[in-house]
Each structure stands twice: as C-alpha cells, then as structure tokens.
C-alpha cells in the first residue's frame, strides 16, 4: 500500500509538471492567437490545422539556434540564470490544490502534490527566488541593457511583492489558514473570496501582473527601450527557458488567483449534482482549469490592451498607491473581523 501511495504521488508530480509545461507551451501559441484576434489578424495558422503545431515549430527553432555565450560574460552565472528561472517556475505547482479528493479502494487521495500548512508562504518564497534568475542572468551577461533590465525587474518585483503580501495577509485574516487546500475548501459553493475581499483580489491581480513581468508591467524586457531587457544576450534554448518560465509563471499565477479568490475547484450548485464523488472531483478539476485558462486569457487580454508604464509611474503606483491601499485593506479587514467576532470594544 505504501508503494501505491508513492506511485500516486509520483503520477501526480509528473502530471502537474507535464500539464504546466504543455499549458505554458500552448500559452505561447494562445498569446499570438489572442494578440492577432484582438488586432483583427489571424495569427499563426500555417503549422498544422489552425497553426496548432506552432509551439513545436517554435521549440524546434529554439533548439536549432546558435548557442552564444558572450566572451566577457560570467559563464557559470550566465547558465545558472535561466536554470533558476525555470526551476522556480516549475516548483510552485506542488502546493496548488488541483482538485478535491479521489477515492481509490476506499482511501482518499488528494489531488495535490503536497498539502503543506504554509502553502501560500511556500509559493511566495519560491516565486521570490525567481527574481534571482532574472537578476543573475542580467548581471552575468555583462551588458548595459541586460543590467538595466535586471535592475528594473528586481526592483519592480520587490516593490510589488509588498502590496501582494499585504493583500494576502488580508485574505488570510478572513480565512484563518495558510494552507491553500483549506482556503479553497472554505470557498465551497459560491462563497468565493473575491466577494469578501474585492479590493484584496484586485490588488493581488495587479501585483500578479507585475510579478510575472507581464504588460503593462513588462519593463524588464521592454524591447523598445532595452533591446530585450535582461535576456538581450541570451540565445537558443537559454532564451527559450526565460520565455518559457514567464509562461509557466503566468499559468501558476492564474492558478493561484483562481484558487485564492475564485473558489479553486469549487463551483456553484456543486451539491446539487447527483454523481459519484470521483466524478464530481474530476468536474471540479475541469472547472479549476477552465478558471485558470480564463485568467491566462485575461493576462493576454490586458497585455494587448494597455500600454507599458513609465518607470517612475510604475514605482509611484507600487509604493504610493498599492501599498497604502493594501495596508488600509488589512486594517479594515482586521477591524471587521474583530467586530464580527464581538471583540471590538470602544
């Protein structure tokens, strides 16, 4: 039985890893398609029907490209950069609850690689390591543009992590748990957290855009000013890793947003369905992925609508607007929680 448990976990790890990679792969395709459709174009449609094989063609191209390591670059760090970016992007998926329990032979297995009780903290810790990948890559390139891009990336991510952290604190004050599974389970039915924490949800989504370096916060790689930002000197699959890591991050961010604020695998009228437990679990998982895909689409939608921030505007928004609002949100949430528990004394 022990072995079987282990195998289930292994299968889950492999499945999460594969799904993350496949979704990231097709996000590149979807990005181009969405961009095209929003701009009255058709997008890639040559490789396979509707261009469905485009990611494979892109990947093949990435592998074929010449591998260049600048002679003045720090070779070790230069290679380490994309490795860290990719590794941290893949690591966050383990704490996300992909579904409810599956009952096999009378024993319940959770559809989650690990349910650690500080799930959110783990996710944020790993995401913050991701900035090292960009920073090291930009530094090791020995190039002005790369360095500027890396500095922008790290300062941006650190600035927005504060507001993001505060919006999470407000959420945790209402849920009372750091475990992502607990948070999702509390939202059963339609008690989704964005109804209780609308401001926190908005702040979190805005910060998630900044954390994933997506437009309108894509200053680290703004090609109009910094050539390619931190990955100017990168080529071949190392560049591919950076780009890929961004899409995995986007997938993970979408998953965390939908788990924290939009009910995860819960959906309204869940209890109305008369079906075996496992079937409902699978439906829930499908719904979770639908939510994730919607948020990935949302990320792209925003990217192709809004222009990029100017750097000072970015910092102004982060420090003077989002941070005070998120602190205010924490205070108000705390006051309301105390008041509802009857512990509020004037």
């Amino acid at each position: 039985m022990e072995l079987f448990d282990l195998l289930i976990k292994l299968a889950l790890v492999v499945a999460v890893f594969t799904i993350a990679l496949v979704i990231a792969m097709y996000s590149t395709y979807a990005e181009r398609k969405v961009a095209a459709f929003l701009q009255d174009r058709l997008g890639p449609n040559r490789a396979g029907p509707y261009g469905i094989l485009q990611p494979l063609a892109d990947g093949g191209k990435m592998f074929m490209k010449e591998e260049i390591i600048p002679s003045k670059a720090d070779t070790f760090l230069f290679i380490l950069g994309p490795c860290i970016a990719m590794m941290t992007a893949c690591m966050t998926g383990v704490v996300i609850p992909w579904g409810n329990t599956l009952i096999i032979d009378g024993k319940a297995y959770i559809m989650q690689v690990t349910d650690i009780n500080v799930g959110i903290l783990f996710a944020f810790a790993v995401v913050s390591i991701g900035v090292y990948g960009i920073m090291i890559g930009g530094w090791a390139s020995n190039n002005k543009y790369s360095l500027l891009g890396a500095i922008r990336a790290s300062s941006q991510m650190i600035s927005y992590e504060l507001a993001m952290g505060f919006s999470i604190i407000a959420l945790i004050m209402t849920t009372g748990s750091l475990s992502l599974r607990d948070i999702v389970e509390q939202q059963s039915g339609f008690h989704w957290n964005f109804l209780y924490q609308p401001l926190g949800c908005l702040l979190f989504i805005i910060c998630a855009f900044a954390e994933t370096n997506r437009a309108p916060f894509d200053l680290p790689e703004c090609e109009t000013e910094l050539v390619g930002g931190y990955h100017t000197e990168y080529s071949s699959m190392k560049l591919g890793f950076y780009l890929f890591a961004e899409y995995i991050n986007m997938f993970i961010s979408a998953a965390i947003i939908s788990a924290l604020f939009f009910g995860g695998y819960n959906f309204p009228f869940l209890d109305k369905i008369d079906a075996p437990h496992n079937v409902i679990t699978l439906i829930g998982t499908a719904i979770f992925f639908a939510k994730i895909i919607f948020f990935i689409f949302f990320f792209m939608w925003v990217r192709w609508t809004l222009p990029r921030f100017r750097y000072d505007q970015l910092m102004h928004l982060g420090w003077y607007v989002l941070l005070p609002i998120s602190i205010l949100n924490v205070l108000v949430t705390g006051a309301v929680t105390l008041f509802r528990n009857g512990q509020f004394h004037f």
Binding site: F37, L38, D40, N45, W301, V302, T305, L306
Partner: protein, 179 residues
C-alpha cells in the same frame, strides 16, 4: 478659418476621481479590444484564397505565338523603346530557310530578355507592340533569392505551342487591334 469640427480645445483640468483610479478607463479599453476579438478578420489566406484581380491586371509578360504556333515577335524593338524602365533588351536575327514554322516573319528575336526587377508593369510594351506579340497577363512573377533569376529570357516568356500550354491574355488580346 475652421476647416473641420474635429479640433478639440486643450484644457488642463484636474482629473476626476474616476479618471484617477484608471480602472474605468482600463475597462473601457478592454471592452474595445474584446469587441475586435469577435470581428470578422479581413485577412485573405493568400496561397489558398486569392484576391480577385481586375480583368486588365498587368502581371508577368507572355510572348504570344499565332494559331500555327509561330512566334509573333519580329524584334522591331518598339517595346524596348517604349519601356520607361528600360527593362527589355533583344537581339534580332534573320529567319533561315526551314524555320518558317517557328517564326511568322523574316526577322525574329533570337534573344529577348525582360528584367523583372526593373519592369514596372506599366503595359507600355504591350501598347507599343504592332504585332500582338507581347502581353501582360494575370500571372504573378515568382519570388527568387538571386538577382539573375529575375532576368526572364525567351524560355520563360514565350508561350508553349500545345493548346494547353497557351497563355490566355483574356480581355487584352486581339479584338482591339488587327495586324
């Protein structure tokens, strides 16, 4: 003098609360982009779908033969003279005995070259030709990666003798001019 009603007087006013939050404006912008998402795309998928072209479209040239398969061109050089881009060059030669089935008149072009990179497809060569020998067709000059490949000789310009190798010149052929 006022030309249009589109000019707007620039005023520097304080932004309202809604404008300062930006979110309503962002929402508005996103509605605009999403409306484009569902719009019909004007793209024409070129190799599969071709844009209908005018009946008098001026594309790649053809050197015509007459009904008996003889080349119409007599190398008079009027097309080369008319050509504003100086894209046409030719060398004249005298028809030998026994070549009557190849060339319609006693003189013919042994070399006839059009530089497709110089050609502006104005159609003046066709207009200048007294023998109904050169026509512009609805064919599109193929892409190439070498400059030399764009100098089209008689091998590419003269149409075939067999009925199925004849190039249709559509409305521009024949009727308006008799020889």
């Amino acid at each position: 003098m006022q030309l249009t009603n589109r000019s707007k007087v620039v005023v520097q006013k304080e932004m309202t609360m809604a404008e300062q939050i930006y979110l309503p404006a962002i929402f508005k912008g996103m509605m605009i982009t999403i409306s484009h998402f569902f719009k019909k795309k004007p793209t024409i998928n070129y190799p599969e779908v071709k844009r209908p072209i005018a009946p008098v479209y001026r594309g790649q040239h053809v050197l015509k033969r007459d009904e008996q398969g003889r080349e119409n061109c007599t190398a008079c050089g009027l097309c080369a003279v008319a050509c504003p881009a100086e894209a046409i060059t030719m060398t004249a030669a005298e028809r030998k005995r026994g070549e009557e089935s190849l060339y319609r008149e006693e003189k013919y072009a042994s070399v006839y070259e059009i530089n497709m990179l110089r050609c502006i497809f104005c159609g003046l060569c066709e207009e200048a030709c007294p023998k109904e020998a050169i026509f512009l067709t609805d064919r599109i000059v193929k892409v190439g990666t070498e400059r030399d490949t764009f100098i089209y000789g008689k091998d590419k310009l003269v149409e075939g003798i067999a009925a199925d190798q004849r190039i249709d010149v559509g409305k521009r052929g024949g009727a308006h001019r008799k020889f």
